[in-house]
């Protein structure tokens, strides 16, 4: 039963990815679509592994002469643990404590521990898939650097299999705490969002504190870093010792440091799972008072609805709106700290600072894909929009407008803060504001198109839709890919063709705006028909 439940839940969690390319109308699957998606995912994973591999190689060159080769694995283990915990933290709360099928499963003759176990197995699988590309490059670099024995490979495989347990434990504990506290709050969504913001802040601070602000500082402070790991992160310290010295006692300590917290948290979950799954969220009753009602136009009503959903759905806000937060963070950071810490003065690239800011702002705009899951998030309530006298074009406008209402001010505020600090020329300022705004519009529109192509109306919860649906993946790839093309075209124009950088920027702007207008026309015509077929 545990195995069956696990596969059902896994299928449910990743069903949109598994059915990609499947047409409901024809009942057939276009084989090219899953192949292309798989190729893109593989490409992204391989790129990440190569980048990490290069980083580990550079670290190995510095740490090995200092006798700190274990620090390579300690660092890699910590990075893998942080990445996987961060990626799965939202999933753990919704999957463990807010799953919609909890009442159904609990009513069946299935032990609650089996239900909980199957969900934890799905979490473990998700963590494992995230840890492997982070950790394997470290093992590969070490194996290439040193002549390793077969025992190393055994211990390394065990590390890959055990480390996700620690991530599962931590993300489950945080999910438990958020659910426990949020239930007692009147405004649960606000509390959840606030909690996760605080968590993200602490997370980045901890990573920076332990690993430094850049590669050079990381390598330069190897000895002090080693002391920090030994003192503060014993599981990773012992992992490093076990893998480099092939010390079984260190391996045992590492395993205990992972398994004991895991066991304790699993005990906590097993004691509280039923009460969580069956209790209703107790909210303080809000007394109804008749208030003055203002009539709004259709467009305003639809836009307000989109904004309300965005603000009330923590996973939606934190995932799809992360770009906005990064933008403002960038602006504030540069305003107070300048660019000297990002671009070392000795590189003599300060004149490129504005162009760098344009690229980063465009990246952030590309990562603000609120439209990519917006149709899927309608789920079973899509009938409200379909049955009302609402032109489909207005529905699209509201979803795109929501993205722009948040994105445009964020870009303008960030651009203003950067300008106040760096005092760009008029030409630089024009590029600083216009290019990211055009990219934001592009992101809003292509995200909606992706959702029209890959709708997921049967998501078991909002987290699955926002984090794992095919439309979100496609939108992410398109954003990253188009940013890469933009940078390539810019560099080609300036360096290869010798065109003035401002003119090149304007040409790029014209291209993006032309694509934006094309998308607008497409959405108004074919897009409407696509929506009506969903």
């Amino acid at each position: 039963m545990l195995r069956k439940l696990f596969f059902i839940q896994l299928k449910g969690a990743y069903s949109n990815l598994l059915r990609i390319g499947h047409s409901k109308k024809t009942g057939k699957t276009n084989p090219l679509v899953p192949i292309i998606m798989a190729a893109l995912i593989l490409y992204a994973m391989c790129s990440m592994m190569v980048a990490l591999g290069y980083m580990y190689y550079t670290m190995a060159q510095s740490f090995v002469p200092l006798g700190l080769s274990w620090l390579l694995f300690a660092y890699a283990g910590f990075v893998s643990f942080c990445s996987s915990s961060f990626m799965c933290i939202f999933m753990s709360q919704s999957m463990l404590f807010e799953a919609r099928d909890n009442p159904l499963l609990l009513a069946l003759p299935i032990k609650p521990k089996t239900i909980l176990g199957s969900r934890l197995m799905v979490l473990y699988f998700s963590e494992l898939v995230t840890i492997i590309p982070c950790l394997v490059p470290a093992g590969a670099i070490y194996a290439w650097y040193f002549k390793t024995e077969p025992l190393f490979y055994v211990l390394f495989t065990l590390t890959i299999l055990l480390l996700p347990l620690l991530s599962v434990a931590v993300s489950a504990l945080i999910g438990f705490l958020v659910s426990l506290l949020a239930r007692r709050m009147r405004n649960q969504n606000f509390f959840t969002i606030l909690f996760y913001f605080a968590f993200i802040g602490i997370y980045f601070w901890a990573v920076r504190y332990l690993n430094g602000s850049g590669m050079q500082q990381l390598i330069a402070s190897g000895v002090s870093m080693a002391t920090s790991y030994q003192r503060l992160l014993p599981p990773f310290y012992y992992l490093g010792q076990a893998l480099t010295r092939l010390d079984l006692l260190s391996a045992l300590y590492a395993a205990l440091w992972i398994l004991l917290p895991f066991a304790l948290i699993m005990l906590l979950l097993s004691k509280t799972f039923i009460s969580f799954a069956t209790s209703s969220k107790k909210t303080k009753r809000i007394a109804y008072k008749e208030k003055l009602i203002k009539q709004k136009g259709l467009s305003s009503a639809l836009l307000l609805k989109e904004l309300k959903r965005f603000a009330a759905t923590p996973m939606y806000l934190l995932n799809s709106g992360f770009g906005y937060i990064l933008e403002i963070g960038l602006g504030v950071y540069i305003f107070f700290a300048g660019v000297e810490k990002i671009i070392p003065p000795e590189l003599n690239l300060s004149s490129m600072a504005i162009l760098g800011c344009v690229a980063v702002l465009s990246f952030c705009a590309g990562m603000s894909y609120t439209t990519a899951p917006s149709i899927s998030l309608e789920r079973d309530s899509l009938w409200i929009l379909r049955s009302g006298p609402i032109p489909t074009g207005k529905i699209f406008d509201a979803k795109i407008a929501m993205n722009l209402v948040l994105g445009f001010p964020a870009i303008i505020i960030t651009g203003t803060l950067i300008s106040l600090r760096l005092h760009p020329s008029l030409q630089d300022a024009i590029l600083l504001f216009t290019l990211p705004l055009a990219v934001q519009w592009f992101t809003a529109q292509h995200g909606l198109l992706c959702n029209l192509l890959f709708p997921k109306l049967d998501g078991i919860n909002d987290t699955i839709i926002v984090k794992q649906s095919a439309s979100v993946l496609a939108a992410t790839f398109i954003s990253l890919g188009s940013l890469a093309v933009m940078i390539f075209l810019f560099v080609a124009g300036v360096l290869l063709l010798g065109i003035n950088y401002f003119i090149t920027g304007l040409i790029l702007l014209a291209i993006i705006l032309a694509i934006d207008v094309g998308l607008l026309l497409f959405l108004r015509t074919k897009g409407v028909k696509m929506f009506e077929r969903i």
Partner: protein
């Protein structure tokens, strides 16, 4: 009021609705009965413009559902069997949203909401988030939101599911008042006793085909609706 002519809807090879024709005049309550998967919800969704259909035509008050969809939707109200509403809104905010969609002036909507919420005993819960509503409360709210703009045609998919006896009684009264004022109602139900007492006309659908359609007295004869239905289905 409602004219469905030779409606056909296919899902792959299967005909969910097969050459269905029925008419509903103003002042009529039409009960639509059939087993699970017979094609009731497909027909209802096609009437409301939610589902495209392959053949036939549907007109509401002379307006074609395909050619004038927005005009049709302005005079129609739809209540689904499972009222999935916007859980991120409170009851009153949802009603205001629907009122904005239909362009109901502020003063009028305030009066309608007060009247209907009082009738369904939902006034005290209007400020609560919809996530805290039970199924029955959501059903009541969906009914209130459908009636706010005084539609000419009310289309309901199993509206009595989840309603307490008081609310069921209130809904029946509202249905009577609606048709007495010249509106029409097209609703599906599994509760045959309610259909027998409430409906002027009835249609029984099976496997996408309309087996019988007509005046309730003519269809029933000396039998109960349950006997007629079971007899037809067994044939």
């Amino acid at each position: 009021m409602l004219r469905i002519e030779h409606l056909t809807k296919r899902f792959d090879e299967k005909r969910a609705v097969d050459n269905l024709t029925l008419h509903i005049a103003p002042g009529e309550i039409f009960g639509f009965i059939g087993h699970n998967g017979a094609g009731k919800t497909t027909t209802i969704k096609a009437v409301c413009g939610i589902l495209a259909f392959d053949e036939g035509s549907i007109t509401i008050n002379g307006l074609d559902v395909k050619k004038q969809p927005l005009d049709c939707k302005r005079i129609t109200a739809y209540i689904p069997d499972n009222p999935d509403l916007y859980e991120f809104m409170s009851g009153i905010k949802y009603l205001n949203f629907i009122a904005d969609v239909f362009g109901i002036p502020a003063k009028e909507r305030k009066e309608r909401i007060a009247e209907l919420a009082e009738a369904f005993g939902l006034t005290a819960d209007l400020a609560q988030p919809l996530s805290a509503y039970s199924h029955g409360m959501k059903q009541k709210l969906a009914i209130i939101s459908a009636l706010m703009h005084k539609p000419k045609l009310l289309v309901m998919d199993e509206p009595f599911v989840g309603l307490d006896p008081t609310a069921s009684h209130t809904l029946k009264q509202i249905m009577q008042e609606h048709v007495e004022a010249g509106g029409a109602i097209f609703f599906s139900t599994h509760v045959l006793e309610v259909a027998e007492k409430l409906c002027h006309r009835v249609g029984i659908i099976q496997n996408g085909k309309l087996l019988v359609c007509g005046n309730m007295q003519e269809v029933l004869g000396n039998s109960s609706l349950e006997d007629v239905f079971l007899g037809l289905v067994e044939e």
